[in-house]
Symmetry: C2
Subunit: 146 residues, 2 copies
């Protein structure tokens, strides 16, 4: 299989998730119920999710904690896949194309499977299976509960 | 009006656009005909566009050239709007919500209108009207010619 040509998540690293969430709410955007105060905020945006996530946690999950040049990873983009098994398969495809694995496929505390690769200039991509956020037939995330 | 709750573009700053384009093509993704060798590459991904763009040009357009802490701007995300006039309106809405204007609405060499704001943690968002990339009724970019 090839790497699905799509976006499902864009995550912004945040120093203060609550304050940053307030800004996006003032734009008129509505945070989903799945958001957790002070930890993470989700906004469903027309088929994909904007996520605001604690920067230190994000770097820890990506595996770049302490990286001296994190600029290319500050905004994290993700491809969601339909099955847990596909995560490792897609990571392998990305590596075969010249990417590097930042974090292998592993089961996450939130109940899904996730891994990270970097493109040759260091931009991080997450590949994830999230059983709680189903995709429609076009590979877009269904609206979140708000 | 409020700020449209959507994504239309995600742009990755690239040191070598051609080399980075090669990586994404090896994933099985097809660059659009509007791509310009060595300058910019566009991939239509399920309703939005992944753009690879010369990093120095990107920083110049955002107005952060020489910025010592560009990490939050390395990946640039954009909201496309239906009319040229809306660009300034949406930027003003973002400023009123606590964002800061990085670059005002101006006519660009590529024939559209564009401006940038930053959220309170410095993540850059472009607001753009692109007469050559129409949106569908759901606010998603129509497929590009490949």
């Amino acid at each position: 299989m090839a790497v699905p040509a799509r976006f499902n998540f864009v995550t912004l690293g945040a120093g203060d998730v609550s304050a940053l969430r307030g800004f996006y709410e003032r734009l008129g955007w509505q945070a989903a119920k799945a958001s957790v105060d002070g930890e993470v905020a989700f906004f469903w945006l027309n088929g994909l999710v904007l996520s605001l996530y604690d920067r230190a946690s994000l770097y820890r999950e990506i595996g770049v904690e302490g990286d001296a040049t994190p600029r290319a990873r500050e905004t994290n983009i993700a491809i969601n896949v339909e099955t847990p098994e596909e995560v490792a398969t897609v990571l392998a495809e990305a590596e075969a194309a010249g990417g590097s694995i930042l974090a292998p496929a592993r089961t996450m505390h939130w109940g899904g499977v996730s891994g990270y690769f970097a493109d040759p200039e260091g931009h991080a991509w997450e590949v994830a299976h999230n059983p709680f956020m189903p995709l429609d037939a076009d590979g877009r995330l269904l609206p979140l509960d708000v």
